[in-house]
């Protein structure tokens, strides 16, 4: 298929503007647009004069730069859809019916196109055969529990050559049976009259939609359908995505009839499609609505686009042009003022057929609701739309807002939405779940926050089938169909289970978390903050054992190490565990995240496992050293901290994902925690998994063996569980080969795009912390637990709202784990104090030590001890601690002074006593001398003695 269409893309030619253009709609903009003008009023007026370009929808792209990333209107919305919301699923006749020439069906242009243009497609056998297996389709509908089924009628199945003469009875019977079956099941039919399968005869005889005669022929066919089926059908769609019919059918040649390069034909086809639709609407409105009381519209499809720079007016204008060239082309006449958008008329001049005033009047307002299609067919291939150098986007909420502003807040039926998977994906369509979740939550947000009147949603599609230019290389069904099978069983994919669940709950309910608590942690709870390391330079390897210099830390309050010149110290041997400051430290963490440290030794898995083994032994030795020599006097506790992020199955409907999530935890955490806290040996699950991989020849990984002495040495050598917890990962099973630790786990990760996440793509999932804590308690018993690191990166340098949100939510979940689940959490250390230059911004303080607003927030959190209610504020008195230790702390503080004092006193005492002694001695001596000199007389001797 060559896509070398001469037209390129419709918008590309429109970048020129005329200055004299007048515009009526711009006046309307001035009266009711509010958001845009306050921001870019002057620019707007200037540009309006130049371009004369209309479109209230442009306001969408004027983003509010002050909007918080954690604003409720931006976060995933747990809420329900309006009562009686219209849940449905859709199919196109040509994509699923099969039986292209049985029972009197005539050929369509697509049957012909497959034979002439898509030769390599095995078209005849490969289909889901809905014509033959109607019952299976109905069971599929029952399974999901939809309130409507959107299907299309195959025109050539009713009228083989397209002209309404004698109906093909078998075809008629098929649709009658289908409609009756739906009525029986209380499923509302939404019927599309034309989903691209034009009877080939009409193409050959009249040139298809290029010929205005088609308008009346289509009206005849539609009238027949209203007459025959109208008693059971309340929602009619005339044409599915006329843009693609015209653009790919006659512009790029990628769709039937495969004509290309003729721009005039493209816009003539579009013109006739609009007129055909409006004529049918009038027919229905005049002749059938009075007694059938239904509604009729046309499904318009479009992409969405966002400006490179939202503050750049030219980019915004290009986005508007891109939307107008696709959606506006059909929506403006039908939902707008009855005419093509001004800019299209100006640019395309005579190529665009004109509407006469009478025709405008006829076309305008010929839709009872806005049927909107948003799916891959409007996004790929790239020549499907005019990108105009801007960014294509899948933001369904934004495009709904655009429709609201451009077409005066219509009621909207999303008549097609979804994405696709590659054909090798069978029932485990995990990515499709998240695409659906994302789209549907945006619809919910649009309803709840933006007050957009979406009343129904049609997931596309019910079944795998023929995907137009992609034939059978992609799949879009909620049900998997093996096209080569005989019976074409419909197997529900994960997305079918997911959609079923959403319909059942009529929205999204938060199951992972319980309502927030009021409560607080006990007074002796350790509130802390983590700082990674002190280092003379910000580098991976500082010469810690070879640098002979003396450093003073934080001498001027700058938190840097300052080298003291002129002093050389002896470097010490590589040993770091003599607990020098042990009397000041009550908690020791020997190794930070050995389960990450071992990752560095990643040449082979066995290197990694050996490194981990050595780390465990080293830790155990240190623990024993402390236990033997220091514990008695220092009374501290020793453990190691494990990187413990929670894991959830990416696809909860698949058993292998549940197993993968648990396996991931075994490989990540139990790998270290089992030897330490439990068995003194590596977890059985890990050993068994490695053995089974080796058996299948996927790897040659072997865990080191603990000798009985080693096992005894390691077991029980952690006094508490220290976890560094940051996020939750969605895990899926994927068999990987290779003898590496990452491969041995057989898992892949999935980032749920609907979740709030940080610049470094860490997902904020607070309930994951509680689940992690519960898992630890279940597996390792009632241990003391310290959260030694928990934090997130936030780009903001001052008002770090994401961090505050994160802290609040994670501490709240920790509190739940403490109060409800009775996990013995003793401390919480927020990560981290200061961040480093050119690293993700994790700090409470910037790299140049400026405080962010989270500092105060965390301070508040600490001083209230959690989330106390007004009545139960904790009364933690500092007195207990101070009285207990006034004397000892005084002693500790004044130790040198006391020591010197004692020395001094003793010296003085010694000196004095020596002096006294000598003095006395001397006196004695003098006395003795005097006595000798005085002659003793009898009378005196008595006196002296």
């Amino acid at each position: 298929m060559q896509a070398s269409c001469a037209a390129g893309s419709p918008g590309n030619e429109w970048i020129f503007f005329s200055a004299d253009e007048r515009n009526t709609r711009s006046r309307k903009t001035m009266s009711n647009g509010a958001l845009l003008r306050c921001v870019v009023l002057s620019t707007f007026i200037l540009l309006r004069a130049v371009t004369g370009f209309s479109g209230d929808g442009r306001a969408i792209w004027a983003k509010n730069p002050h909007l918080s990333p954690v604003n409720a209107s931006q976060l995933f919305l747990y809420d329900t859809f309006p009562k009686n919301f219209f849940w449905g699923v859709g199919t196109g006749a040509f994509q699923v019916e099969g039986s292209w020439k049985t029972d009197g069906k005539g050929p369509s242009i697509w049957d012909h196109f497959i034979q002439t243009h898509l030769r390599n497609v095995n078209s005849m056998g490969g289909s889901s055969d809905s014509y033959l297996f109607l019952e299976k389709d109905l069971s599929a509908l029952d399974f999901i529990g939809v309130s409507f089924y959107q299907f299309s009628i195959s025109w050539p199945r009713l009228f083989p050559d397209g002209i309404v003469t004698v109906v093909n009875a078998k075809g008629l019977q098929y649709y009658n049976v289908l409609l009756d079956a739906l009525a029986l099941r209380n499923i509302e039919p939404v019927v599309t009259l034309y989903h691209w399968d034009l009877p080939l005869a009409l193409q050959e005889k009249y040139g298809g939609w290029k010929n205005a005669t088609m308008v009346d022929i289509f009206n005849d066919y539609a009238t027949y359908c209203f007459q025959t089926f109208g008693d059971r059908v309340k929602y009619w769609i005339t044409i599915h995505n006329p843009y693609l019919v015209a653009w790919h059918g006659y512009g790029t040649g990628m769709h039937a009839p495969g004509e290309k390069g003729n721009l005039a034909a493209v816009y003539t086809v579009g013109h006739n499609l609009i007129k055909a639709h409006s004529k049918v609407w009038h027919t229905y409105n005049r002749d059938f609505r009075p007694h059938q009381k239904g509604w009729l519209s046309i499904t318009l499809g479009s992409h969405w686009i966002e400006p490179n720079r939202s503050e750049n007016m030219m980019d915004v204008i290009k986005c508007q042009q891109s939307m107008v060239s696709v959606l506006g082309w059909f929506a403006n006449p039908i939902h707008g003022d009855g005419d093509y958008p001004e800019v299209m008329k100006k640019k395309l001049l005579s190529i665009l057929p004109p509407f006469s005033e009478a025709e405008k009047e006829e076309v305008r307002g010929t839709a009872d609701f806005f049927a909107f299609s948003f799916g891959p067919n409007n996004f790929k291939p790239l020549n499907t739309m005019a990108k105009m150098g801007q960014n294509v986007s899948l933001n369904l909420r934004q495009v709904l807002n655009w429709i609201k502003l451009e077409y005066d807040d219509p009621r909207i039926l999303i008549a097609e939405n979804g994405w696709f998977t590659d054909s090798y994906v069978k029932t485990e369509d995990t990515t499709a779940i998240y695409m659906m979740k994302n789209f549907l939550n945006q619809v919910l947000q649009a309803i709840k926050f933006d007050e957009i009147g979406v009343f129904g949603y049609s997931a596309w599609s019910l079944l795998d089938g023929f995907e137009w230019q992609e034939a059978y290389t992609t799949r879009r069904g909620l049900f998997y169909v093996d096209f080569n099978s005989e019976q074409k069983e419909r197997k529900p994919k994960s997305s079918a289970h997911y959609y079923k669940q959403i319909i059942k709950e009529n929205g999204f309910t938060l199951k992972e978390s319980t309502p927030d608590l009021q409560g607080h942690f006990p007074c002796d709870f350790a509130w802390g903050v983590t700082e990674s390391v002190l280092k003379p330079e910000f580098m991976a390897s500082s010469p810690q054992f070879t640098d002979p210099h003396l450093y003073v830390w934080n001498a001027t309050g700058n938190r840097l190490l300052h080298r003291v010149e002129g002093i050389r110290l002896k470097t010490r041997p590589a040993q770091c565990t003599d607990f020098e400051l042990g009397d000041l430290v009550k908690l020791w963490v020997t190794i930070n995240e050995p389960n990450r440290l071992s990752d560095i030794y990643n040449r082979t898995s066995n290197d990694t496992y050996q490194a981990a083994h050595n780390l465990l032994i080293a830790h155990a030795r240190v623990w024993h050293l402390y236990d033997r020599q220091y514990r008695l006097t220092q009374r501290g506790a020793v453990s190691l901290s494990l990187h413990s992020d929670w894991a959830e199955p990416a696809n909860p409907y698949v058993d292998s994902h549940w197993k993968a999530a648990e396996r991931f935890l075994q490989f990540e955490i139990a790998w270290f925690a089992d030897p330490l806290f439990k068995t003194g040996d590596y977890p059985l699950a890990m050993k068994e998994h490695l053995a089974s991989r080796n058996l299948r020849g996927l790897s040659t990984s072997v865990l080191p063996r603990f000798s009985p002495e080693e096992s005894r040495l390691v077991k029980g050598t952690a006094d508490f569980y220290a976890l560094n917890h940051f996020t939750t990962r969605f895990v899926m099973h994927e068999q990987l080969s290779g003898s590496r630790y990452d491969a041995d786990r057989d898992v892949q990760f999935l980032q749920d795009i609907t979740r709030l996440s940080s610049p470094s793509r860490l997902a904020v999932m607070p309930w994951g912390a509680r689940k992690m804590l519960g898992w630890i308690r279940r597996n390792y018993g009632d241990l003391d637990v310290y959260i030694t690191a928990n934090g997130i990166d936030d780009q903001a340098l001052e008002n770090d709202r994401l961090r505050k949100y994160y802290l609040e939510k994670y501490v709240q979940e920790t509190l739940k784990a403490y109060l409800i689940d009775k996990v013995k959490i003793r401390g919480y250390y927020a990560f981290k104090l200061t961040e480093e230059k050119s690293k993700p911004r994790f700090g409470f303080f910037t790299s140049d030590f400026k405080a962010k607003s989270s500092v105060q927030f965390y301070n508040q959190l600490i001083s209230s001890g959690g989330f106390p209610s007004e009545s139960s504020k904790p009364t933690c008195s500092q007195t207990l601690r101070s009285t207990e230790c006034t004397i000892c702390s005084l002693l500790l503080q004044k130790k040198p002074l006391i020591f010197f004092g004692c020395c001094f006193v003793s010296t003085v005492v010694l000196l004095i006593s020596i002096t006294m002694f000598r003095r006395r001695k001397r006196r004695k001596f003098w006395k003795a001398k005097n006595l000798q000199n005085i002659p003793l007389k009898k009378g005196h001797s008595r006196v002296l003695s």
Binding site: W419, S541, V552, Y601, Q748, R761, P896, T907
Partner: protein, 221 residues
């Protein structure tokens, strides 16, 4: 006499205080820092023929705690901070033998007859190739096989010729991975945030991560 005695005690206290400070201050310098151990030298990409690295001079002899740099005038000195100017290309030219070129000045690290280190524009196999030896401490010593002299950085002024060659003490170098500058990093980050949609893919948002690496914020390289 009393006063003299008191003075004596103060002096004694001072001496003791200094001693005490020296004892208790020492741990600051030698206290183990829980730095991530980069592990085996394989991690430094020794399996690659060309490595872009900074050479960190670590002492204990001569100039240390700085980054080797070859200036555009050919002088070799050592710069305090790690920057683009100290980025070197280390290329394996023979077994255990490398050529070291400064990326910004495009000069090769060479050794003259008297053991003087200089930067030359033209590479010569004899003067500009050095044996890369791993010291017991994990640091590298670069030794010229022709001159049988190690690369040594000494003092701020250019080295004067050594009368006794055996006295020349080698500088110990640590090859360091180049840091990404703040700008390029932020650019990368913002690019990552607004990666264009892959509309041709069944996973247009790149939700599925094929690499499967678990990274921890508290364990950054």
């Amino acid at each position: 006499m009393w006063r003299a005695r008191r003075g004596c005690a103060v002096a004694r206290a001072l001496v003791l205080a200094t001693l005490w400070l020296a004892v208790s201050g020492r741990p600051l310098a030698r206290r183990p820092r829980a730095l991530s151990d980069q592990g085996p030298h394989l991690h430094y990409g020794w399996d690659q023929p060309i490595r872009l690295r900074h050479l960190y001079a670590a002492g204990p002899y001569g100039v240390s705690n700085c980054f080797l740099r070859i200036r555009s005038d050919g002088a070799v000195d050592c710069e305090e901070g790690q920057s683009q100017r100290s980025l070197l290309e280390i290329r394996a030219v023979a077994l255990e033998t490398v050529a070291i070129k400064d990326v910004s000045s495009v000069r090769y690290l060479c050794m003259s007859e008297d053991g003087k280190i200089q930067g030359l524009v033209r590479y010569s196999e004899e003067d500009c190739a050095f044996k890369e030896e791993i010291n017991y401490s994990g640091y590298n010593v670069y030794r010229s096989s022709k001159h049988h002299l190690p690369v040594a950085l000494s003092g701020a002024k250019p080295r004067q010729q050594f009368t006794n060659k055996s006295l020349l003490r080698p500088s110990y170098f640590l090859p360091m991975l180049p840091q990404t500058s703040e700008e390029t990093r932020e650019q990368l980050e913002s690019e990552m945030l607004s990666l264009p949609l892959e509309t041709d893919s069944m996973d247009p948002f790149r939700m599925v991560d094929d690499v499967g690496l678990v990274k921890s914020p508290s364990f950054q390289k």
